[in-house]
Amino acid sequence: MYLKNIRLQQFKNYQKAEVQFSSEINCFVGINGSGKTNLLDAIHYLCLTKSAINGVDMLNILHNKDFFTVFGDFDLEGKEIEVRCIFESGKKKQLLQNRKAIEKMSDHVGLLPVVMIAPDDTGLIKDGSEERRRFFDNMLCQMDKQYLDQLVRYQHFLKQRNALIKQFADKGRWDSAFIEPYDREIISLSKKIATARKSFLEEYYPILKEFYNIISDNQEQIGVAYETHCSGAEFEKEFKASAQKDFLLKRTNMGIHKDDFVFEIEGYPIRKFGSQGQQKSFVIALKLAQFQIFLTHKKTKPILLLDDIFDKLDDNRIGKLMNLVADHRFGQLFISDARPERSKEILAGIGAESRFFLVKDGEIGNWDQ
């Protein structure tokens, strides 16, 4: 698949902008703060109806305005899809496919796969377990509507159960009959979600390993340990037994919202023991494996967004990544870089069409090479 063009209005620092893209490589160059990442984020919006950077739509409206629009034309394996994303402050976000309103955002998510690699992604390794759950859930949800439904239900029942526990705590009394319907749903959904996560990892892990070994110099053994207490035979018993703790702490202490995915190198958590370089390689491998999984399941090459990648990676890793590009492993590529000459040099020998755009104060023009 590829994005043919994009039209922005009052999106972040863009008053109004329109660009035609190459179906191969597009490179946004311009000084820091000019709006390169914002442009990548606009593409992310079209694909996933939300920002890759901040979850609050309001923050993406140009200062002192009250709406933004992002329009774009996609080619999905020969099928034309025009996507419009419209957000007006105080109103529900609207998404249109070929001018037809899409009621549930989840019906759009998954249609147009996109993968973004950005330097800040080491949060995936360094931050708490929530980031990692979100990373895997995002992938699973885009491929499996049943999983999405289960996850939405789980989060809802968890909220209800936590509200109930707070009421019990206020009254100083636990009501087993009242909480039982929620326990039952949370237990049964936890088992299903844990099973789905586990079997997804079985498919994902070998791909991750392959990409890690391509990107990194050393051939270290990497691993992903899925930590959950929801898949054992004793889970139901343990969940019930934790009621006392739940009552004391006023929240639910067992269930798949406590799962973690621990990334390891040679058996040790990379978060604590991995070098900077290993962590970067790992993050890139995670994203490239995501690309590969989407390609397999969606039968189309996802759009790849590479933010500041030339700046944040050493020549060695850049070279390896570019070998993959030259091997036509990827489809349409969007790259941002503050230094146009460097990008031009790196992309020169790739053997793919590359188009350069100069971004300057929220305006997009062609870069005269």
Binding site: K145, K159, A177
Partner: protein
């Protein structure tokens, strides 16, 4: 909106409190009433006042009623062994309109939702249990049909009620969910389709 008359302004602000009615529609309705005979407004006002004052809720099923007990609960053609539990009054009307059901009803007046502070005590759940515990006629209840919305709150409420009904050893059923009549499988959303396969029923060729 600026109004030339305080009277119009008051009327518009009252009418626009009704669901689905904005200021513009409210103004149109108010001006419409002014064009009609005075008796039209009087009849409307009176009917609203007596609706609010004289309406009763059936002391058995909690449906709206003109008398202490509603016409369904007192109807002599009704099968008193069946109780259909619904979330609210419009659901009774919807099921009645199908002409497929001849039992009695029980209106819960909501579904359980701790986030919104609605627990079993806020709903007519205890009165339902009481109806089964102390039947008013010689005929005992033999089946409770749960016809609650196909939402997460509907489901948890159904489960809660089912547990409470356990001690009575009566049949508890729930209305079927799945593919709409005339619906194509490929256009049915995946979740509905998935669940309707899981809850498939025996096919009878009789």
């Amino acid at each position: 909106m600026n109004f030339p008359s305080k009277l119009i302004e008051d009327a518009v602000s009252e009418i626009s409190r009704l669901p689905g009615i904005g200021k513009k529609t409210a103004l149109r309705l108010a001006l419409h009433l002014l064009k009609q005979k005075e008796s039209v407004s009087e009849d409307l006002a009176n009917s609203i006042i007596s609706l609010r004052k004289d309406i009763k809720y059936c002391n058995i099923c909690h449906n709206i009623s003109d008398s202490e007990t509603c016409s369904i609960c007192t109807g002599n053609r009704r099968d008193r062994r069946l109780i259909c539990v619904v979330e609210d009054i419009p659901d009774v009307l919807a099921i009645e309109n199908t002409s497929q059901y001849n039992g009695l009803y029980h209106v819960l007046s909501g579904v359980i939702s701790p986030i919104q502070g609605i627990g079993p005590d806020e709903l007519n759940i205890e009165p339902l249990l009481d109806r089964i515990r102390n039947p008013r006629s010689e005929e005992k209840v033999k089946e409770v049909i749960l016809a609650l919305p196909a939402t997460m709150e509907g489901d948890t409420t159904s489960f809660y009620i089912t547990r409470k009904l356990k001690e009575f050893h009566i049949k508890v059923s729930t209305i079927a969910r799945g593919i709409p009549i005339g619906g194509e499988l490929e256009y049915t959303d995946e979740v509905t389709l998935g669940r309707s396969i899981l809850t498939r029923v025996n096919y009878s060729a009789d």
